[in-house]
Every structure is written in C-alpha cells, then in structure tokens.
C-alpha cells in the first residue's frame, strides 16, 4: 500500500510472543484511515485480542512499529503515553465485566473525562461547565434515558450495559475506537441495535474503528476493509465488498461458508 497522508494508524511488522511457545502475533502490518472502519476477523487464538492489547499499550510488542497520528505509539512512556491513551479507547466483549458493579452509571461514564480534565470533546463543548449535563448527553447519544445515571450496572440488561460502555468509549472523542467482540455476549436482536448504534456514532463523530469479531457477517456490515487473521498471522486484507470475490484465500472462504447455508 502506498503512503497516504490521511492514515490515522500505521502498523508495520508487529510481533508479539507471550512465552517461548506462544507466538501470538507475527509480522502483522496494516493501516487505518481517518474515519475508516477496519474489521479484523479470525478464530479464537488468531491474535485479534493481542492486537487490541498492543494498540492500547497494555502489552509491549517484541518487534514492529505502531504510528498513531505520526507519533510512535510503541515508544511512548510515562506521561506522554498517558496523554496518547485518550486517542485510543476500547469497548470490550463483556460489558458486565467492563463496568465496576459498585459505581453508578454516572461515575462509570465520567471516569475518562475526570482522568483527562483538559479534554473537552466537540460534542460536549457547550456544556463543559456541568459534569452532570455532559453525562446526560453521553447517555442520550447512546440511546439511554438520562435519568438512568444514578442506576447501578445490575439494574441494566446486557445490551444497556454495552451502551454505557460505548458512552464511556466515546467520551474523550478518541481518534480510534477499538471494538473487541462488542456483540458476542448479546442476543441476536440486541446485536443489531448495538451495531447500528456504533455505525451512527462513527458517522456522527468521524472516529476510526478497529472492529474485532469472529462473526464475519458483523464484520462485513461494519467495515470498509477487512483483515483476516489466523494463528497470529495476517492471512489477507481486502475491501469489504470483495469478501465474496473468487480470489479470496481458502481460509476466508471457509469462514464465509460457516455462516452461509
């Protein structure tokens, strides 16, 4: 791929091993454009979540580079790293585990903004003086009634909890939102609602997504481009509308066949 100026994230030759025997990621390279959704599909153990952990700098890569907005994400340390963290946020698979059961929805949603007091997203700028109003707006952006701020996670259904997690994910207006299997623990009908919401927010806020899932149908719906992974390696990457093309890798075709009758 030729170098383009509008690339938000450029990952080159990323490798990571957990121990001598587990090569979680080997030589993975890709780019994410501004406002683009890159889908990552693969089986359990293919390295999808490792990739997310590296991009969040929860783990350190053994080799390779991650350039976010021209900054070397893999080299950042200390306060510089902390400042860059707000550009990359995540929505996890299990919203029940992602939310602290003892915190109210208000506390959970406002946590990122409290951590970065100098950050005010565009969509909250007019009400930045009032934390309460900011939290209310975040909830309404994800389709929840603002009155629910005082509730605790156990009073919400799985889909509603995931909406709270998304509200928190967008609260700093990150450049990149990583969605790691965001619908895998939800009912089919709720999955559709959450995917629609993620798409609405992406268009509204111009964020880029890294959308990780083993569900190729969900990845196809969400993504502009798709990256197929297997055993830590990149099988292939292609434009999403080329998913059913004849030249697809046999492994990709296998993934497609598993969901078509």
């Amino acid at each position: 791929m030729t170098a383009q100026t509008n690339h938000l994230l450029t990952v080159s030759n990323l490798s990571m091993r957990y121990n001598k025997h587990v090569q979680a990621l080997s030589g993975v390279s890709f780019q994410i454009g501004t406002g683009e959704c890159l889908g990552v599909v693969g089986q359990s153990g293919s390295g999808k979540s490792t990739l997310a952990r590296l991009l969040l700098r929860l783990d350190q890569p053994d080799e390779g580079e991650m350039m976010l907005l021209g900054q070397p994400l893999h080299k950042l340390k200390g306060e510089a790293l902390r400042q860059w963290r707000r550009h990359v946020q995540i929505v996890f698979q299990d919203p029940a585990a992602a939310l602290n059961p003892r915190l109210s929805i208000y506390q959970s949603v406002m946590e990122p903004l409290n951590n970065y007091p100098q950050v005010t997203p565009v969509f909250l700028r007019d009400i930045r003086h009032s934390p309460r109003e900011m939290a209310e707006r975040l909830l309404s952006m994800v389709g929840l009634p603002p009155e629910w701020l005082n509730r605790k996670p156990h009073q919400l259904s799985g889909g509603q909890k995931q909406r709270v997690a998304i509200a928190r994910g967008i609260s700093l207006q990150p450049d990149l939102l990583i969605c790691d299997e965001p619908t895998a623990s939800l009912d089919v009908s709720v999955q559709a609602q959450i995917l629609n919401l993620l798409k609405d927010l992406q268009e509204q806020l111009g964020m880029s997504y890294l959308f990780i899932s083993h569900d190729i149908a969900a990845v196809r719906f969400m993504s502009n481009r798709i990256l197929v992974m297997k055993e830590g390696q990149l099988v292939e990457q292609f434009d999403a509308d080329q998913l059913l093309a004849a030249e697809r890798h046999p492994y990709t075709q296998q993934l497609v066949q598993a969901v078509t009758a």
């Binding site: 889909g159 089919v188 009908s189 559709a192 083993h214 190729i216 509308d241 059913l244």
Partner: protein, 366 residues
C-alpha cells in the same frame, strides 16, 4: 418398551385437564405415527414459586420430538428455553416449579420418577451439553478417569471395557483419544473441551440429547464443526436432539423443526423449511429478517422494535413490541392455531388479516 402403564400412575393429579389436548403441532407422516415420541411435553407451565403465585416463566408449552429428530428451541435470553430444558431433566433450580402440564420421556411421566431413577436416566438416556463446557467436568481429575467413572456408574462395567468405550467416544469426536484421556480440562482448548463434553454426552447412546447453546461460547468455525458433529452422531445413533439457541441462523441449517419462544410461550413452530418460507408470527418474521446477508449489506440492520425481554402480562407476550398488534392482542390470550400441517402459531392476526402480516408491513411500521 413397556412404559405405557406409567401414564396413568403417579402424580397425575397435578396435571390440568387441558393436557388431554395434545399438541396440534406434531402431525407426522403416517410412517412416523407408529413410533412413540422420545419426548412429549404437554401444556407445560413453570412458575417461580411452587403455589403458582410467582411469575410465570413458561406457559402452556407443547413440544414433541421423534427419535432421530432435531428440534430447535429458539428465543432471546429469558424467553424460557433453558428453563424448559431444566424441567425435562428434572433439574429446575430450587424456587422454580412445574405448575401444570406433564413431560413424557419415552412415554413415561418424568414427574413420577424417584431420584435414583432420575439419576440413572440422566447421562444415560438423557444427556445434556451446556454452553459452559468447562462446568461439565471436574478440573482436577483427568478427563479419562471422569469418562470411565461415568461409564462404570451407569453400565457397571469393569475399567478395561469402560476405557475402550471412552477411547472410542473421543475418537468419534475427532480427538486424539489417548492424549485427551491423560489430560486435565485446562490443557484443552474451548473447542476441544466442548468436543469432550459431546463425547461424554453421546457415548452411552442416549435417546435424547439436550444441547443448550452448545456453540455460543465458541468461535464460528469451531462452533460449526461442533454442530456438524452433533448432526452426524444423531444420524448414526438415532438420538433425538433438543437444540437450544438464540440464533435462528444457526438452527436453520441443522434442525428438522423449529419452535420459536417469546416470553415463555412457543409463539410459532413448524418444519424448518416451512417456517423460513411462511413464518406467520411477527416475532419469527423479525428474527428471520435480522439475519445478516454477506452479499447485500444494508446501511442499517433491521432490529426488533421495543425493549428486549418486554413481556406483556396478558394477551400475546409479544404485544408490547409488535408493530401490527390489534386491541385483542393486549387482553386476550392467543390459542395455538394451525397454519398448515405441522405448522402452528399463536397470533390473533392469523386467519383474519393474513395479508397485512407481510414483511413489507412490518418493515414500514418498525
């Protein structure tokens, strides 16, 4: 099998008179009519309390499964799928109780079983594969030992014979039998663990396998192989399968018949191909529409209107979310109505304004 005498004995007093009316949804071909169903659930109701005062989780459920048949029970979380399965195995968690109806397994009312009889039945005649595959085994005992123990418990065989059967069972699910026998659970991947669970469930050749969301915790490809496995083994052993899932897409490929649950009721049931072509209940239609198509990707997905899990207290359970409901739906309970041979649905709009229930109508109003 001489279970017929059991029909009239035992705790029949608790059954409502209505249970005389067997399911209208189970018309079978003449050839099949002679074979008694493996499982017959008549008019089953389950409440959260023994005296029927609590919340009703399952109401007036009718379902039959023939030998070798795979019947899928689908619906969203809390629709009563797993609770129904627990009632079949007699393992309803403490405060829940059967408040009406009866469950016949091989013609025998399961309510009349003593606990030793039930223990002998579970694992041998009825097996269950759970979503949480890790929970099926003890983590600190080797797989082989657990399988052998299970065989010896049910069959009374010696260790050597039991080991042969356990090895065969693991080979059937395409695992390296010797290595797996000598492994602890944590040494296997999720897909392998679920295969071992299926091997354990099928090695004593049960008459009924209950597969409760067997692939939900697995990725697509692994899940697909697990389903293929269950499918091929049921053809081989003529084992009937009750396949519980929340994903219509998964079951269409495998099941002979589908029963769709909403709010504790089977709102529609029928042969898979008929249901896919001619679904009549709005909820079933929504489920069918929510399947994603890889070739034709819409700007936004079709989702089911209303709050998931919202169940109307009287009338049709789906009334609160249904875009085509009429006044009667909120108040009058819906009887099970026959749409065609083997295809039943509970919707007031059947037989009245059938044309209005078209897909276009639902799309427009949602």
């Amino acid at each position: 099998m001489g279970f017929d005498g059991m029909l009239t004995s035992g705790k029949m007093g608790m059954n409502k008179r209505k249970s005389e009316r067997t399911s209208t949804g189970t018309k079978t071909t003449p050839a099949e009519r002679n074979i008694p169903p493996v499982l017959q659930i008549d008019d089953l109701s389950i409440h959260t309390r023994a005296d029927s005062s609590g919340k009703r989780l399952v109401r007036n459920l009718n379902l039959t499964i023939q030998p070798g048949e795979m019947v899928a029970l689908i619906g969203e979380s809390g629709s009563g799928k797993s609770v129904t399965a627990s009632a079949v195995t007699g393992l309803l968690p403490a405060p829940l109780s059967m408040s009406g109806g009866r469950i016949l397994f091989q013609g025998r009312d399961t309510a009349t079983l003593t606990s030793p009889e039930r223990r002998a039945m579970l694992g041998k005649e009825i097996s269950v594969v759970f979503q949480d595959y890790a929970g099926s085994f003890t983590p600190f005992i080797k797989i082989g030992k657990q399988l052998i123990e299970m065989i010896r418990r049910h069959m009374g065989w010696n260790k050597t014979t039991a080991r042969v059967l356990a090895t065969q069972a693991l080979e059937q699910v395409e695992l390296a039998a010797e290595r797996v026998m000598d492994s602890y659970l944590f040494q296997l991947s999720g897909g392998q663990q679920q295969r071992v669970a299926i091997a354990a469930a099928l090695m004593l050749e049960p008459d009924l396998l209950i597969a409760d969301e067997p692939t939900t915790a697995l990725d697509t490809l692994t899940g697909e192989t697990i389903l293929q496995l269950i499918d091929s083994l049921r053809h081989k052993t003529k084992c009937a399968v009750l396949f519980i899932s929340h994903d219509l897409h998964h079951v269409i490929k495998r099941a002979d018949r589908i029963a769709v649950m909403y709010g504790g009721e089977i709102v529609e049931s029928g042969p898979t191909d008929v249901l896919v072509r001619e679904a009549r209940h709005p909820y079933t239609r929504f489920l069918l529409q929510s399947r994603m198509d890889l070739a034709d990707v819409p700007a936004r997905l079709q989702s089911i209107p209303g709050e998931p899990g919202a169940v109307s207290a009287c009338g049709c359970p789906f009334a609160l979310r249904c875009p085509v409901r009429i006044a009667r739906c909120d108040s009058e309970a819906v009887p099970e109505m026959m749409v065609s041979d083997g295809h039943t649905a509970r919707c007031h709009l059947i037989g009245e304004a059938q044309g209005d229930l078209g897909a276009a109508e639902i799309t427009r109003t949602s």
